[in-house]
Amino acid sequence: MATLNVLILVCLSYVVFLFAIAFAADRAALHGRGTWLHSPLIYTLSLSIYCTAWTFYGAVGFAARSGLEYLTIYLGPTLVMIGWWWTLRKMVRIGRSQRITSIADLISSRYGKSNTLAVFVTILAVVGTTPYIALQLQSVTLSFATFAEADLTSTSLPNRQSTAFLVAVGLALFTILFGTRNLDVNERHHGVVMAIALEAVVKLFALLAVGVFVVWGLAGGVEQTLERINASEIARWEVPTSRWIGLTMLSAAAFLCLPRMFQVMVVENENEGHLRTAAWAFPAYLMLMSLFVVPIAAVGLDVLPQGSNPDLFVLTLPLNAGRDGLAILSFLGGFSSATSMVIVAAIALSTMVSNHVVMPIWLHLTGGTAVVSGDVRNVALLARRLSIAGIVLLGYLYLQLSGGGTALAAIGLVSFAGVAQFLPALMGGLVWRGATRLGALCGLGVGFAVWMYCLFLPSFGSSSILPQTLFDHGLFGMSWLRPQALFGVEGMDQVVHAVMWSMLLNTASFVFVSLVSFPKPVERLQGAQFVNVFQHSATAGSWSGGLAQSEDLMIMSQRILGAPEAQAFFAAAAQRQGLAGYLPEPSPDFLQELERELSGSVGAATAHAMISQIVGGATVSVEDLMAVADETAQIMEYSNQLEAKSQEQARTARQLREANEKLTQLSVQKDGFLSQISHELRTPMTSIRAFSEILRDTEDLSPEEQSKYSSIIHDEAIRLTRLLDDLLDLSVLENGQVVLNEHKGCLEDLLDRAVAITGGGAGNFAIRREKSAEQVVLLTDLDRLAQVFINLIANARKYCDADRPELTIKTSQKADRLLVDFTDNGSGIPTDQQTVIFEKFSRIGQTKAGGAGLGLAICREIMARLGGGIDYLPGQRGASFRVTLPLNSQNATQ
């Protein structure tokens, strides 16, 4: 009976299955399919990462040691869930409206986007979570070893360290693969969430199966089971009041504060309505998870030999009864609990580490120039991937260093108590406008220190890190500073003692410092927005723009959000303001919206810093504004209205100014039309006349000279003809009399043709293309389209002023439109010229060029006839033109 080998096989197939599920879910989400991905059921199941291996295996052990006390771990979250109207609803709303990425981000955003606070929370979260990850790895290795011991056929026991290492590597890989596919938190981790939901089902099913087997298989029915419980060591209800209340409160607090819970509950939340389902479904899930715990514990204590580890009853009971299949299922349940916890914790922590530690440092090191020039997106992704690997590795190292064992088993509650330190700052921030950054920092600091001293360090066992004398006589020999009897409170349970003192001192310093300190204006603004999130979904002014350069902002945003997303975002904003093109007015509303959009990718503090680097001294005016407007809501509202009005006026003025500018420019050009056309016609005629006179009047011309001069005449005559052709072409196009010659053709062939006609990549002019994307079949007037391409390539050739001129032709598809971007690496077109380049006879500067400034005007007319368009794409460094074409060109004919 090769149980171990079967187990390994099943385990590997399960992992492959998880990868497949995650992959499929990601793909489905990408293609907009799979509405089931967005169901409240999936959301509820994803919350089940609360039940880790510690609860899967440990609950039974907990019950075997202290009876019903284990229920507190589930009752706390149940109370929080059914009380969702109080807190969770608000947290989720804030998380969505402020585009929060992690609990560190939430706390930092609330207290004036303070990065100090974010770093502090991040460190605390990492310290609190690392042992917990170690615990998961340990549970997997331990259960594996249990199997190996039971399997008599296996000759050698698997090396525990290598098992743990393999599991850690696998988990890191999975998390990096599916957890860092998107940078923006708004695009949620569908694959990961789906895999977790599946694991939630597996672990519940496994535990229920073991429970059913124990009750009806081993004990012989419900009544017999109850008798066994009554006969066991845990028959009596004797739960200490302090622990019952203390642990329930602790688990409730941890449920709100655990970074991984925050990740699934707030960050991955798609729809606030899901919370309503989770409000009853998740407590039901928890109830089912804990239903069979006591029976399993009681029967295990009864059946299994004295001294067997109660933490593994879930596994050893079926093994002992020879039910290998059930044991493997149970193993999978534990495995699921462990892996899902590690995956989500790693995602949550890596987001915090990269957004609040790595990115600010990197931005600081690159001195802000990176905001515009560097590739922020890649750095952020890399930082996140490295953080994930680092965090999982840290868990593994912790396991190795601590040596596992019983010290680790107690870490669950220790870890809970650690993250619970966020609670005062978190809850205070949500309900109390007076809470300040300094208060939050002090509260967290004090709570963290007390937790470290009273619970975390002693958890390694007395005299391992802290010397024994400390436990006996206190710090510096002061007996009231003994870690387990602070201020002389003796005889209390260690966990309850630490939780009580840390939370008490944490809250007290938080409240006290908040009362005596004075918040900065940004803090007050954020405080008002958080506390009253339901009152104004719209926002009070924050950025006063004007100084901001929309184009710089766009360049920066493209680096972070990705070019198509940023362009879509800017275009939408411009449209809302009633402006054409891609550059909206940098109004406060827009800047704030942009900041939120960016904070989804890089965190609130970083996004704020980035925008303020571009917008410049705008923060000052916000603070001024706030100082005046913060005190009374009426004044604020009134000033908001005024501000909105004056913005409205400013915008109208800008629109008028723009229209006027364009008109003036156009009229100057129309006025110049005659002199332009005169110039364009006279220049070639001058050469023709001069050389024909030379040929006529000069007798002693050499044959070479003769042929040279006649060919000049010929060339200039052709130039004249071309000019007239263009003029005619344009007038025909403009009058809409053109007949389109539609054919089917491949975009690649068309581009090949255009490139060849314009001289290809000859000289030092390089053309970069992505042929795989160009395999698009078009039904359109191919010759006309080629004319546009030729014009654009020829323009790039002519005007690109880079040392190594280079033209990138990029093809992409968006909805039912085909986008072909022609981007060169020259100095581009100045913003004030961008609006007129498509007008007739407009040329940039007065440069001598073969054309008459009709090319782009013709292109524009052609594209309009073909049912598409051509636009100038700002913010691409060089000059960039985007040709848009409908993909099903059947209806392009007019």
Partner: protein
Amino acid sequence: MKSKSGPVFLERRTYRRRRMIDAARLLPVLGIILVSIPLLWNGTPDPHTRTTYAMFYLFVVWIILVALSAIISRYLGPNESDEQSLGDR
């Protein structure tokens, strides 16, 4: 806070909804009380001090809480946006 004192009498639907919100707020309070009751049994003689008895009690409480929460959630439909300000204060 800025209370633009609303109408004194509300539509029947709105009124129902507000009471449901009250219920949603009270539910965790009820939960805390029910979950704490077993603490009173500490030190009393049998049969209350049996684990099985407490277990039954707690799981029944649990199921009741789940059911109440489900009912309340059903009535607090997704049309919450129309009176957000109520939710807060």
